[in-house]
Amino acid sequence: MTAVINAHQLSRSFPGTPPIHALRDATLSVEPGEKVAIYGPSGAGKSTLLNLLGLLDGPTTGSYTVLGEETATMPARTKDRLRSQAIGFVFQQFQILGHRTTRENIDLKLSIARIPHAKRAALVDDALEKVGLTHRATSQARNLSGGEKQRLAIARAIVNRPQLLLADEPTGNLDARNTDLVLSLLDDFSAAGIAVVVITHSDRTAAWSHRNVFIYDGVLSATPPRS
């Protein structure tokens, strides 16, 4: 089976004086169905890495192949298509449209992916049910609780049945009960063959994953750095 993610020596620097080397020579590969937790302190470069993996940003150097497609020479439209159809992204800040309903927030992803109207309702219903938000379908998203918003963000990420799910601290603000709920959701996706990459601060999440990757000052390692 080919790897979903195949990143080789990815680096990302941001211009500045001095320049910020947010990520250095990161090499990572993730198989379908695999659960990987990226674990590291604040400012270590976790979101920077996830943005590269999710095609929101491009590396300064290094090569990245996602779902068998090399990204270096990939046209922008192809990246857009992969983001809309093959990659689910749960953002660190929820990035939910408060003035739209739960249902409309999820539907937005399908609308962007140009899924025909006829198929959308069923997909949205399915996603709502998976995250347990069916009873909140018509609520204004701004009125949802923190845990509900997090689950809405997950529902939007998986509604279009992606092959890769990237989640930036999906359990960051949640209590133990909600954290377990989200983790068991992610388990289901992984069991369905989706590659799941989760950024986390929490030991609970780190313990849940198949594999932990540590990041410190932009550098990845398989073992926790000695302090």
């Binding site: 983001r83 159809q85 660190q92 990035q95 609308s111 962007i112 140009r114 109207h117």
Partner: protein, 395 residues
């Protein structure tokens, strides 16, 4: 097609969420487009009115002249009456100008003088000519003009009377004579000019008298006045009625169409009104553009989110262009209504008959939409350039 339905729905949600701003912009477009439509509409109505007025004065006249040659008796004596037999002909009369060297007009003296009064003209007319040209004053006995005898009478235009030393304070000065071609002529009336004919400096004599002076009637013109709109059919039948034996000896001229005049008036008025409308529209465009730039900035993270979820730059641009188009369209709709009402009010206030071209409201609609799209071009491109990675970092 589906994309547009989706984009439309997307816009509808956002525009209703920001209802006050949306309404404000729609009103702005409505005012701009409305003013434009109104100025356009009023122009059309006004110039149509002017054209109508001019047409009413002139398009009901038909002239019949002699085709050429020096034949005498081109017009039968009863030519006026013959023309009147046609339906829709209101009046008809003839005129023939006599050159001043032939007529030699002068004050009447018993002395033999070679000079004659300059600055006057001499014309022979039939009574019908008075009717055709709406000439007034001293016309009670005008029947003498139709006399085929050598009747030595004359009507004087006001200026001609002054030149000849005849008082003009009474329409029937009595006891005055002038001299024409060496003959003594009695002045029987003072004639006032009308809008149709200026005869201030003209000495009017019986038609037959003038023809006799010229020996030929080849320079005579028969003028016919018809009911408005009857010019065409009447002019077709006229020659046949006047000269059934030789219609080809006559030439009929309908008074020229006024299209060129009309369009001249049009463009002058239009330029003025248009420039006001265009300035208002430019202002509206800037207003919308400004408001949309603000909207794009405040929606940066939403735009970043859309990009992150897979929307292309084109999708983002289309979103804002569509929003602009919808705003412009709705504003244009309201503006068209506003403009049409404004045009009606202007027309009524001026007592004009309303000429509302069917395309007028559509102009408003089109202009509103164009303004909306134009205004959103820059905001849309700057929205499309938003970087998703940085945009989603903010809440």
């Amino acid at each position: 097609m589906r994309i547009f339905v989706d984009t439309f729905q997307d816009c509808a949600i956002d525009m209703t969420a920001r209802l006050q701003r949306t309404l404000l912009l729609i009103i702005a477009v409505a005012l701009g487009a409305g003013t434009f439509v109104m100025s356009l509409g009023s122009n059309v109505t006004a110039s149509q009115q002017i054209a109508n007025d001019m047409a009413a004065g002139t398009l009901d006249q038909i002239s019949v002249a002699v085709s050429g040659g020096t034949d005498t008796n081109n017009f039968p004596d009863d030519a006026d009456a013959r023309a009147l037999t046609l339906p829709m002909v209101l009046s008809s009369g003839r005129r023939i100008d006599v050159d001043i060297d032939t007529a030699q007009p002068n004050r009447f003296t018993t002395a033999n003088v070679d000079e004659y009064v300059q600055g006057v003209a001499v014309a022979g007319v039939t009574t019908g000519y008075f009717d055709v040209m709406d000439l007034t004053g001293g016309t009670a006995g005008a029947w003498v003009l139709d006399s085929t005898q050598h009747t030595n009478v004359a009507y004087l235009g006001v200026q001609a009377a002054k030149e000849l030393g005849i008082p003009t304070d009474t329409p029937y000065p009595s006891g005055y004579q002038i001299s024409l071609a060496g003959h003594r002529v009695d002045v029987v009336g003072i004639v006032q000019s009308s809008e149709r004919a200026r005869v201030d400096n003209v000495i009017l004599v019986p038609y037959a008298q003038a023809v006799a002076m010229k020996i030929s009637d080849s320079e005579a013109v028969l003028t016919v006045r018809t009911a408005i709109g009857a010019g065409g059919p009447v002019s077709k039948a006229l020659r046949q009625v006047v000269r059934p034996d030789a219609p080809e000896r006559l030439t009929v001229t309908q008074v020229a169409t006024l299209d060129s005049l009309r369009s001249g008036v049009d463009s002058q008025l239009s330029r003025l009104g248009m420039s006001v409308g265009v300035m208002l529209l430019a202002l509206t465009t800037l207003l919308i553009a400004n408001s949309m730039i603000v909207a794009v900035m405040s929606r940066t993270s939403e735009i970043g989110l859309r990009r992150a979820l897979g929307a292309s730059q084109g999708d983002i641009a289309r979103l804002f262009l569509t929003e602009g188009a919808i705003t412009g369209f709705l504003g244009g709709l309201a503006g068209a209504a506003l403009g049409v009402v404004g045009t009606l009010v202007t027309a009524l206030a001026n007592g004009w008959s309303v000429t509302m071209p069917l395309w007028l409201p559509f102009i408003g609609l089109g202009i509103g939409t164009v303004v909306g799209i134009l205004a959103s071009v820059y905001p849309a491109t700057s929205a499309a350039r938003i970087n998703p990675a940085t945009a989603i970092r903010v809440d």
